[in-house]
């Protein structure tokens, strides 16, 4: 019956004629590699890379804004204007001592003459003699952010003993920075939401596109008596592998990018380029929470792809059954 059978030589014993055919290891029901599968893997890798970068970027911006806000709100400044009847050095020491008597203060530092001159250097140049100009002097008091002192009482006490003193609690700056930080975080969250939405839609439609090329497999499995759950699980396994590879590659690349940027920043501390980058973007380190976020994105993408594959297969089977129950829906019947 075999079309390819070769005429047998009678003298040759059958067992020596041909070795027993060996069955190759059973392959997966859903083909492991095809063009649409590779394209889907690339799409998933790109989208997970972008989502991870956005997540890391937003968390960096948020951390930087919080750091600015925290640094400024940790300090208050006492400014003392010079006056002919005022012993400036004594007034500075008195102001510091008075401030430190209030609970909620943690330390104080008088900005000495040299430091004050350095502060004014960009505007007044080098070699400034402070005695020649009525330059105010500063006392910086550090405070406990969580338990700040009573600023009104401190202000009143200071004005009482040193009328030339002015307490700046940085509220204006802090309020502006809080508003800016909140705005930045909101914009970042908005971008993150958009990127995530784009990622979800792209992954869902790319998965459905890749599955449409496998519809004939769903049909054959259905017609040889496979239950819907079995068919769905075969495709789920296949698409879980694809999505884990793609999302893993994208997430790993994003994590490596952050690690490389952080390493570069740590290796080039105190250089103009790094200072500029740090001032603009803050530290590139995303911390363990950032890496956990990247891992979470990989898992979310894998689950999303798997779920989409399952729902699409179930819907395909449902459509096949729908054609069965309503023949008018089919336009490909043969008579």
């Amino acid at each position: 019956m075999n079309e390819n059978s070769v005429p047998r030589r009678e003298s040759e014993p059958p067992q020596q004629r041909r070795a027993e055919m060996r069955v190759r290891p059973t392959g997966p029901i859903v083909p492991s590699a095809n063009v649409s599968g590779h394209a889907l893997m690339c799409v998933i890798a790109i989208m997970s890379f972008l989502a991870c970068l956005t997540l890391g970027g937003v968390s960096m911006v948020r951390a930087t804004a919080q750091s600015w806000q925290s640094q400024i709100s940790r300090e208050i400044t006492i400014q003392i204007k010079p006056d002919d009847n005022l012993d400036m050095e004594k007034a500075l020491a008195d102001a510091q001592d008075l401030a430190l008597t209030f609970s909620g203060t943690t330390g104080g530092k008088i900005i000495d003459r040299a430091a004050t001159a350095r502060l004014l250097e960009p505007w007044l140049g080098e070699g400034l003699d402070l005695d020649e100009l009525p330059v105010p002097r500063l006392v910086v008091i550090t405070i406990d952010e969580n338990n700040p002192p009573d600023f009104a009482a401190m202000r009143a006490a200071l004005t009482e003993i040193i009328p030339q003193a002015f307490l700046d609690d940085h509220r204006t700056w802090v309020d502006r920075l809080v508003a800016m930080a909140n705005t930045t975080a909101m914009i970042g969250s908005g971008v993150l939401a958009l990127v995530f939405s784009a990622m979800v839609l792209t992954v869902v439609f790319a998965t459905r596109g890749a599955l449409s090329g496998n519809r004939h497999i769903v049909e054959v499995l259905h017609f040889v008596g496979a239950e819907a759950g079995f068919v769905a699980s075969e495709f789920q396994k296949h698409f879980l592998r694809i999505s884990l590879k793609g999302a893993g590659a994208g997430g790993l690349l994003a994590a490596l990018s952050f690690a490389a940027a952080s390493f570069w920043q740590s290796q080039t501390l105190a250089t103009p380029e790094t200072d500029q980058a740090t001032a603009l973007f803050g530290r590139f380190a995303i911390g363990y929470t950032g890496y956990l976020g990247i891992f979470a994105i990989i898992i979310v993408i894998a689950l999303l792809t798997t779920l989409t594959a399952r729902l699409t297969v179930m819907r395909t089977i449902y459509e096949i059954d729908l054609i069965r129950s309503d023949p008018g829906r089919t336009d490909t019947y043969q008579s």
Binding site: M1, S5, R22, R24, F223, V224, D321
Partner: protein, 245 residues
């Protein structure tokens, strides 16, 4: 044809189970069945017939008469617009969706276009119905190899369908339909792609299967094929069915 004894024994073991069933009840019963696509004319009209157990019949008629549509009804891939169909003594209109896979497992079908999966070897394609039933490969490997030898594909087990000839594909599709020992085999133009000697060999294969207890329905318009066997003929013409016993 190679020796069919081992496979015949396994078939026979199933047949013995069939014998215990009620032979008076046909495998499939159609009563006043009609089918139309959408709002179009009726493709099939008032079909009333039985497919008895262990029977052998040809389903024939001119092109466009509705042979494939009738096979699809028999295979549960279409539901009639009207009338009653009973399969395995159950009214199919009252069977829940999730029970259809179990019924389909009792029916073997050979599609006109084979519907082999190109990324699976001949062996894997034939083993597919057993695999989807969750069976371990070790439990069916010998059966599949035996059946492949029986249909003359013993040397082509690791070949992918695109490399197979039309006749080989046809036999692989037949083997896939038979592997789980169905109670009825439906074949749509099984000799449409092969030369007359191969058609004769395939017919012998179906006859042997029928002798082992499986009911066979062959849809064909090949008169010379039908002339080779004294068998029941179901002739579809203009949507109506005439049966010649």
């Amino acid at each position: 044809m190679e020796c069919a004894a081992p496979y015949a024994r396994t078939i026979a073991s199933r047949v013995s189970k069939v014998v215990k069933r009620d032979w008076a009840v046909p495998l499939i019963h159609f009563e006043n069945v009609g089918l139309r696509y959408g709002m179009g004319p009726e493709i099939l009209r008032d079909l009333t017939f039985d497919i008895p157990r262990r029977s052998f019949q040809f389903l024939t008629g001119p092109s466009g008469a509705g042979k494939t549509t009738l096979l699809r009804l028999l295979f549960l891939s279409l539901q009639p617009t009207r009338g009653l169909i009973r399969m395995f003594d159950r009214n199919i209109s009252s069977i829940p969706r999730d029970e259809f896979p179990m019924l389909r497992r009792r029916v073997g079908i050979v599609f006109q276009d084979f519907r082999l999966l190109d990324h699976l070897t001949t062996y894997e394609n034939v083993a597919l119905p057993l695999r989807v039933r969750g069976k371990e490969e070790a439990s069916y490997r010998a059966d599949v190899l035996e059946l492949l030898k029986w249909v003359g594909l013993g040397e082509r087990i690791n070949v992918l369908p695109p490399v197979l000839s039309g006749g080989e594909k046809q036999r692989a599709a037949i083997a896939r339909a038979l592997i789980d020992r169905p109670e009825i085999l439906l074949a749509d133009e099984p000799t449409g792609n092969v030369d007359p000697p191969m058609a004769r060999r395939l017919l012998n294969l179906f006859l042997e299967l029928n002798r082992l207890g499986t009911a066979v329905v062959i849809a064909t318009h090949d008169l010379s094929l039908m002339d080779q066997v004294e068998a029941r003929r179901m002739i579809l013409s203009q949507g109506r069915l005439d049966i010649y016993e």
